[in-house]
């Protein structure tokens, strides 16, 4: 295996410290946009990163195979690729593989072998697992057990593209101007150590859930302890990893609506909860009491997305920047207002979301049915 912990965190720090720039946009009606828009926006925030990692998540980019799991992999060696493909063959029935298209770029060096596969789980192997759980287990197996292989994207009709380099260079390297997505999220890293590993760039993803994150989670130790009790092991020692796992636990496994996930990560203050009407007081007390260990303390702005839904959230005392804007059916989110103005000079509305108040964007029903025919996640 790639020793992920060592690659990611060679100094064995408790966790990595990042500061960053983030940009995201999404059309409620499912209109798509080419990747040069987020690339332009990220280029405008060049100085928020230090060239040690950048990446994008794009939703709706594989409309021809919306029901297949799109795996993006990086391989260190041909042997790793061969072993991984053998493993994929064993567990998935339909399998098309191809090299991820790239164009040479002077800012992007020492690229690993980059391949993508469109996969359908082998149904007789599910053994009672949902397709999603089956895929998560396969991804964990490859990342932890196969030497030199790393899955960096595994959702349906979406993809993550990331590398070491400045974000705009990463986007051009991956030819993102040739993709059309109804939702883009993007990230540039400013890690406070010199680690440069492709897998360590944002977005982080599990299935079609992605997170880009600017901040430092002071509650990391508490969050990690709780997630370990739930079976998640933080191999990368980044605080973004705990956000991704918390989101998976709360939204996918415990079925919390996304607005409730946000209220777990950035809950209202007790003094405000005490003033609420009975029903809300019960709701928020219950959430805080039970999920207190998943409160994300410290400065952060995050954008989380999954099929047909995107949410931006800042910490409850607003210690990291987050700007939102709206034009017709499109919502923009960024660390700064300038990149939004650059890509869309005429905006209906620009605002700074309150700390702990999520900005939630959803595809309308028609667009949802088209992009994600398997449907919305429903509460159990």
């Amino acid at each position: 295996m790639w020793d992920i912990g060592k690659k990611q965190n060679p100094y064995s720090d408790d966790k990595l410290h990042d500061a960053c720039g983030i940009f995201a946009m999404m059309s409620r009606s499912g209109r798509t946009f080419a990747g040069d828009i987020p690339i332009t926006a990220m280029e405008n925030m060049h100085d928020r990163g230090n060239g040690l990692g950048g990446g994008f998540a794009a939703y709706g980019i594989y409309p021809d195979w919306p029901e297949l799991f799109a795996f993006h992999l990086m391989f260190e060696t041909k042997e790793a690729k061969a072993e991984t493909e053998k493993y994929l063959h064993q567990h998935f029935s339909s399998m098309d593989g191809e090299e991820i298209p790239t164009r040479p770029h002077p800012g992007i060096t020492s690229a690993p072998i980059l391949f993508r596969y469109f996969l359908r789980p082998n149904h007789h192997l599910l053994e009672g697992l949902s397709e999603d759980d089956f895929v998560v287990q396969r991804v964990m197996h490859i990342n932890l057990k196969i030497d030199g292989a790393f899955v960096f994207s595994s959702g349906r009709n979406m993809g993550v593209f990331k590398a070491v380099g400045h974000t705009e260079d990463v986007g051009r390297f991956f030819k993102l101007d040739e993709y059309e997505a109804y939702c883009w999220t993007a990230h540039s890293r400013f890690p406070t150590n010199t680690t440069a590993w492709w897998g360590g760039a944002h977005p982080f993803s599990v299935l079609d859930w992605t997170v880009v994150h600017n901040g430092e989670i002071s509650s990391y130790g508490t969050n990690r302890n709780y997630l370990e009790m739930q079976g998640y092991f933080c191999t990368m020692h980044t605080d973004t990893e705990v956000i991704a796992y918390a989101m998976d636990l709360l939204a996918r496994r415990h079925g919390l609506p996304i607005e409730m996930v946000c209220k777990v990560m950035a809950p209202p203050l007790w003094k405000d909860i005490d003033q609420m009407a009975q029903a809300d007081r019960d709701l928020y007390t219950t959430l805080r009491v039970i999920y207190g260990p998943l409160l994300m303390n410290g400065p952060f702005s995050i954008v989380m997305a999954h099929q047909g839904e995107m949410v931006a959230l800042g910490d409850r005392i607003r210690l990291r920047p987050l700007v939102a804007a709206e034009r017709d059916d499109v919502i923009y989110i960024a660390s700064e207002e300038a990149p939004i103005r650059l890509v869309e000079p005429t905006l209906d509305r620009v605002w700074i979301p309150k700390g702990g108040e999520p900005v939630i964007v959803r595809l309308d029903d028609a667009a949802m049915a088209k992009a994600h025919p398997e449907g919305r996640q429903v509460l159990k």
């Binding site: 410290h17 739930q230 409160l295 410290g298 839904e309």
Partner: protein, 510 residues
Amino acid sequence: MSVMKTHLWPEFIIERNDDRCIRCEVCVNQCSFEVHSFDATFNEVFAEDMNCVGCQRCQVFCPTHALTIRPNPTQPRPNANWRVEHLFDLKKQAESGGIVLTGMGNDKPISIYWDHLLLNASQVTNPSIDPLREPMELRTYLGRKPDRVMFHRDSELPGGPVVPVTQMTPLVPIETPIIFSAMSYGAISYNAQKSLMQAAAAFGTLANTGEGGWPREFRKFHDNVIVQVASGRFGVDLEYLNDAKIVEIKLGQGAKPGIGGHLPGEKVTADVSQTRMIPEGSDALSPAPQHDIYSIEDLGMLIHALKEATRYEKPISVKIAAVHNAPAIASGMVRAGADIIVLDGIRGGTGAAPKIIRDNVGIPIELALAQVDERLRKEGIRQQASLLVAGGFRNSGDVIKAIALGADAVYIGTAAFVAIGCTLCQKCYTGKCAWGITTNRPDLVKRLNPDQCTERLTNLLRAWSREIKEMLGGMGINSLESLRGNRLHLRAVGLNQWEMDALGVKGAGF
């Protein structure tokens, strides 16, 4: 039997500055150990040093500061093995044939790990938070927490209203992670217990009755009281259980693991006898074990009997002394149904205990806490019980380090008593406490003014809470739950590797 000449010598020397002494007799009246006496014929104040316990009451109250009380400088030949304390105990036992009794917590330099743990603070990558300008939350809920929230949604549409349908377990909020320890009426005075309960109520935290019953007049503090069910069952009836916020089963005490509570007959006055439901003047010696609990399954039955008796409306707590296999015991306790686990470390206080047990049995609370928290997490049951710790917490630094090691809240006893006068003279078992805290003699009890003591105690809670907020803010954290078990904010200095492993912390610099 002939009268034996004692071979002991005074532990303390009383020095009286005659130029300052105004013969006011305050010292004579204040000393409950009959040290000072006034001879009107000679207009002279005399002192019997032999009786002095070093409680400093006379010195504090002397209006002209004429008194100095200090340890007797007289020393036998120095000997690294046979220290003065050993000589004294040997001589006392030779003269009495009894077990040497003492009060308060272990006073030996057994590793105090709090002094070897250092806290983190934010620099650059993460702003520290100023609690005077930003919200800072210390509220804590005690009790068993459900594993997850289940929702009911009125409509299938995303964004529609949601209603939690998870059945909440009984939980008790406290506004600061500091609770007053179990100290029974009888062992402590009526006014002392009243002060603790009044302060707990005023500050939004809890006070524990201890095992000596609950005077009827104090039942009005029911929202802020934990009642104890110990092996002696003193004062326990259905009303006692149902009036309380939390019911605690006492299986052990850090100051005297393996034995039951001791209340000398001298302290069992009429009121104490009524509250405890025992005869006046009789020694109240609690059995060493609870005689209906010889095993973990028996504990489960008592826990559920108490839950039945209180209609499943109150968290049931179980308190043990911190001993060698505390993690395994704690795990069993949670599985037996305990909603709260209390660990009492070797430095925990007492009103009366055999000195040999106080000084030699049990383990430091830091190690027990770290290991119990880790074990419960490894077994995935940490959220099923709150973890309270007790045993010699001296300041808010100790408290916040305990939270970072995994505690939900901390019990304080000795610290609270120092706040209302105690000087740790360790003579609680004599019933003569000159400060009015561990005595039931009416002339001494009235020295403790409950309203003034309540003010001192709430001041203490406020001061510690403010300090905790400052330290939390420094770490870039604005809610205590984000520090709980967050050992990344601790580093060790001067410890061996095994100690750092046991505490689950890295050495400073790493």
